[in-house]
């Protein structure tokens, strides 16, 4: 307490500091004059009295300093004076300061950007009141369960509120004669009440409401022109009328995390709809308690409403929804691994940047050794010198991070605007938060220490006498600390460059890779029907649409063929794992394969050759003999070299019948371009129809783009309530290319950053070392050395540095890139010689460029001037 009060008084003093000095002077003046007056009264002559009083008082300066010292917080004063001193020094040498700040800004900015993206993607806190008390619940190990179960859980009253949401839904929005598709979040009517998130306008969906809707900020802005009077307006979604009651703010993050943000929220209405369970724990409840309570709720549920084949009480899981807890949820390992790798890579970039600054500071310290030695001999302690040098690097890194922060804000702004081409509504909301601030503060301190400590210690260790006697004359000893730093830097940038090139190569490979079907002449038309309009159990109405659509599409000029499919390759997939039996052997084979339901003409349309047998025909439909088409790899895995056509396969699903193989098609890519070749089974579309989403694929004679409009026209004419999206297949590869693109962009950028920084470092070291060797070079020239000889001397020094750095870098890169195979397209090994060669080549070119200016300076040395220079 008293400490705080003292601190407060010190701060008050700091504020009124200038007045303090003048008052103290007045006070001492008064003291002296009072004493003089007293002396005068005692009989001392007036002019002597004042002098005597002054003598008695002693040094006013010392008294004043001592008094001021009482109030000062010494280390803070020292820090400020050091910083002021450093700022003055930088103003005298702006080139040095600008280079250092530029390097640090690049390093710290890159770090902050990646950090912002990573945290907002992986660890973003959902927009909700007290999100620490919110939990995600897995019933029976599943992320989603039916609304009936949800209602049971809610009625159990274990929690302070529950929330359910399904983000995997779409709805058609009809406005005028336009129909668009929205990514919808189907929420339980207590969702917004439990979350209690702030709203931009209006409110959330309230309990017992069935016809209200909430808009996301993005939809409100883009589709409704930010209409401030939007509340109360009607919205026709899937043919139903909803009333808009609220608009979420721009920074809203859904509870699902991973930047998933539905465009519109509507109440979930059907009891068989699946939702993800969330709940708010009451005060004092912990995760284990919550889990135990849930266990008993689900056991009860299993007893009252048994579900065949599945126990809800098995594998009940509970996790938090913020911070690292999020990683315990279902997230593909490759995604976390990718971000982890990014963080390592940007760490490396920062390391290179810091090394640059450290090496600049080293150079500066040794050219200032005279000044420093002078200060030491005048009584400055070594500690004081170290502190002073550290203050310089602290100032540099603070300014660097400030610039880096601006860079980060600019970059994340751009990133936030990028529409990620995935079939789920992903939208990253990036805003600087306390984590970023903490991170950047850490980066400042770490880089200040890393940059400044080594040069400072080295400068302070220097022998004063030596430094004073000898002026900075550097001779041939090239292998000093700076050289080691530069070599290390070069090594690190070899690693970065090799990784960057590897990913660029990967992208090129992925883009040019033949996915096993023709993307250039294929169009994908997606037609989403409103489910309620096609409710008939026999799907007659829907089949009617499909058939007339196919008929009319085929009749369009320029359309060679058209087919319907349940899933569009490289955009959606379905992996199944089962024990298969065939009619050729009694053994079961465990296989996992891709499955898709495709209509007649599918393979002709996408351009995948049929190797044996036939395509599906209209006769392959419900009720007819079950038939399948398999791919080459499937045939080889299950039947070896025998011809599978005419044989049957039977899976071990309940009631599965033997299916006759009628065809074998060539292998192709099914979900990502990077995937290893998978097994695939195709079933006839009309045997298992997909009720709502119709995917038509069309093959055109010319390039696909011109056909988009007429195709949409045909489909729109068939059902005006359907949402239609038509695009050339080449545009629809976004998802498949996303991993390669993200990798290439991120790591390529980092590689270039590293390269720039390493080039600056190399350039600086060579330039500095030459300026220290001017006399030596002058002597050499005077003794008859030719320009070539001089170049050889300079070149040798540079090349030795470059060669040793690269050797170390290559060895490191070889080890570092090995785990990256995970991210690469098949056929491209992490040990990619072309990437290594490219990295070394580019670095060599930059190194030579970096040596050019120093070499020119060396050649221009005038021997007379150089020798007289002493």
């Amino acid at each position: 307490m008293s400490f705080l009060r003292e601190l407060w008084r010190r701060l008050c003093w700091l504020v009124g500091r200038s007045r303090f000095y003048s008052e103290l002077a007045d006070e001492m003046q008064f003291h002296i004059e009072s004493r003089a007056a007293e002396l005068e009264q005692g009989g001392v002559p007036a002019h002597e009295a004042l002098a005597k009083a002054r003598r008695e008082f002693g040094s006013r300066l010392k008294a004043s300093e001592d008094t001021t010292g009482v109030w000062q917080i010494q280390w803070l004063e020292d820090l400020f004076s050091d910083l002021r001193y450093a700022a003055r020094a930088f103003r005298r040498n702006p080139g040095f300061a600008a280079t250092a700040i530029f390097c640090l800004a690049l390093g710290i900015g890159a770090n902050m950007t990646i950090f912002s993206i990573t945290t907002s993607f992986l660890f973003s806190e959902p927009s909700a009141r007290d999100s620490a008390s919110l939990i995600a619940i897995w019933e029976g190990g599943n992320s989603g369960s039916s609304l009936t179960d949800y209602k049971f859980l809610r009625a159990s009253d274990v929690f302070d509120g529950t929330a359910g949401i399904n983000v995997e839904r779409e709805v058609n929005w009809r406005s005028g004669d336009q129909t668009n598709r929205f990514y919808a979040g189907l929420v339980t009517d207590d969702y917004f009440k439990t979350l209690d998130a702030p709203f931009h306008l209006g409110r959330g969906i309230a309990p017992n409401e069935r016809e209200t809707a909430v808009l996301s900020y993005r939809v409100w802005r883009s589709k409704f022109a930010s209409d401030p009077r939007i509340l109360g307006r009607k919205l026709i979604l899937d043919g139903q009328i909803f009333t808009i009651v609220g608009v979420l703010p721009a920074y809203h993050r859904s509870i699902v995390g991973f930047a998933i943000s539905p465009e519109v929220y509507i109440p979930v209405r059907r009891d068989d709809e699946d939702v993800q369970f969330y709940a708010r724990m009451p005060k004092g409840m912990t995760l284990p308690i919550a889990r135990a309570r849930l266990q008993s709720v689900f056991e009860q549920l299993d007893r009252i409403y048994p579900k065949d084949g599945r126990k809800r009480a098995n594998q009940v899981r509970v996790t938090g929804v913020t911070g690292f807890d999020v990683l315990n949820q279902n997230i593909p390992g490759a995604v976390s691994a990718f971000f982890a790798m990014l963080m390592i890579v940007v760490g490396l970039v920062l390391l290179i940047a810091c090394t640059n600054v450290a090496s600049l500071l080293l150079a500066r310290a040794s050219s200032r050794s005279h000044e420093l030695a002078l200060r030491v001999s005048l009584g400055a302690s070594r500690k004081r010198i170290i502190r002073h040098l550290l203050a310089e690097s602290l100032l540099l890194s603070a300014l660097g991070s400030l610039a880096g922060l601006l860079l980060d804000i600019a970059c994340t702004n751009v990133v936030g605007k990028i529409a990620v081409p995935v079939p789920i509504p992903v939208h990253v909301v990036i805003s600087p938060d306390w984590r970023l601030m903490g991170y950047s503060l850490g980066a400042v301190i770490a880089s200040a220490l890393f940059c400044g400590l080594l040069p400072a210690l080295k400068a302070a260790r220097r022998d004063v006498n030596d430094a004073l006697k000898q002026d900075q004359r550097q001779t041939g000893h090239t292998w000093n600390l700076r050289s080691v730093l530069v070599a290390g830097q070069l090594a690190a940038s070899v690693v970065l460059l090799a990784t960057g090139f590897l990913f660029v190569h990967n992208l090129l490979r992925a883009t040019s890779m033949n996915p096993g079907f023709d993307v250039h002449h294929t169009i994908w038309a997606h037609m989403r029907l409103v489910p309620e309009n096609y409710a008939g159990a026999d799907q007659k109405k829907q089949m009617g649409i499909v058939h007339s659509a196919l008929e009319q599409l085929r009749a369009l000029p320029g359309v060679e063929s058209a087919a319907i499919t349940q899933r569009v390759p490289l955009n959606d997939n379905c992996m199944t794992e089962t024990d298969l039996r065939t009619d050729v052997s009694a053994d079961r084979v465990r296989v996992s394969y891709e499955c898709n339901n495709v209509g007649p003409d599918y393979f002709r349309t996408v351009g995948t050759p049929i190797l044996r047998g036939r395509e599906f025909s209209l006769a392959d439909r419900k009720g007819s003999q079950p038939v399948v088409i398999v791919n080459e790899t499937f045939a080889k895995t299950v039947f070896g070299n025998a011809d599978p056509v005419g044989h049957t396969i039977t899976s071990d699903f309940k009631g599965a019948e033997p299916q006759l193989i009628v065809g074998v098609v060539k292998d192709s890519k099914y979900f990502t371009l990077a995937e290893k070749q998978r097994l695939a089974i195709f079933q006839p579309y009309f045997a298992y129809a997909e009720p709502v989403n119709l995917h038509f694929l069309l093959r055109t004679t010319n390039s696909a783009a011109a056909y988009v409009k007429p195709i949409s026209g045909v489909l729109g004419h068939l059902d005006s309530t359907a949402a239609i999206e038509t695009k050339p297949m080449s545009q629809a590869l976004g998802l498949a290319l996303l991993p390669s693109q993200a990798g290439a962009v991120m790591l390529g950028t980092m590689g270039i950053l590293g390269l720039i920084l390493a080039a600056i470092g190399l350039y600086g070291v060579l330039l500095y070392s030459i300026s220290g060797r001017i006399r030596e070079i002058g002597v050499r020239i005077a003794l008859g050395a030719t320009s070539l000889d001089v170049l050889r001397v300079i070149g040798r020094q540079g090349l030795v540095l470059v060669a040793s750095g690269m050797t170390v870098g290559l060895i490191l890169a070889f080890w570092v890139t090995r785990p990256l195979t995970l991210f690469l397209v098949p056929g491209l090994s992490a040990f990619d010689p072309s990437a290594f060669v490219a990295a070394v080549g580019v670095l060599l070119a930059v190194a030579i460029l970096g040596m050019l200016v120093p070499a020119r300076r060396a050649l221009r040395v005038d021997p007379i001037a150089a020798i007289r220079y002493e």
Binding site: S2, R5, E6, R9, R10, E23, L24, D26, E27, M28, F30, H31, E33, S34, R35, A37, E38, E56, F57, G58, S59, K62, A63, S64, D66, T67, G69, V70, W71
Partner: protein, 110 residues
Amino acid sequence: MADDSPQLLPGTLYMLILRALSGGPLHGYAIARRIKQCSADVLDVEEGSLYPALNRMLLKGWLRAEWGVSETNRKARFYRLTKEGRARLVSEENEFNKLVNAIQLVMKTA
């Protein structure tokens, strides 16, 4: 004169200042004079340590300073005891008395 006056016991300056102020607010010069007079010219507070000590006491909250007018009708800075300062005076006095008694005991009996 400064040569033959004994050094102040360490730590007693605060106590002396507190005592000098216990009669009412005084300015710096008056404090020094009061201590000197009361000690029959034996204790001479050095100006070089008076002002740092006063400021340290301000910092600790024992004193408060305000500007006023001196007996010679000039602007001067007056120091006044706070409640904490009064409490401090009592405790310092007790401590000091104990110490002095103990020392005297030793000197008389040992």
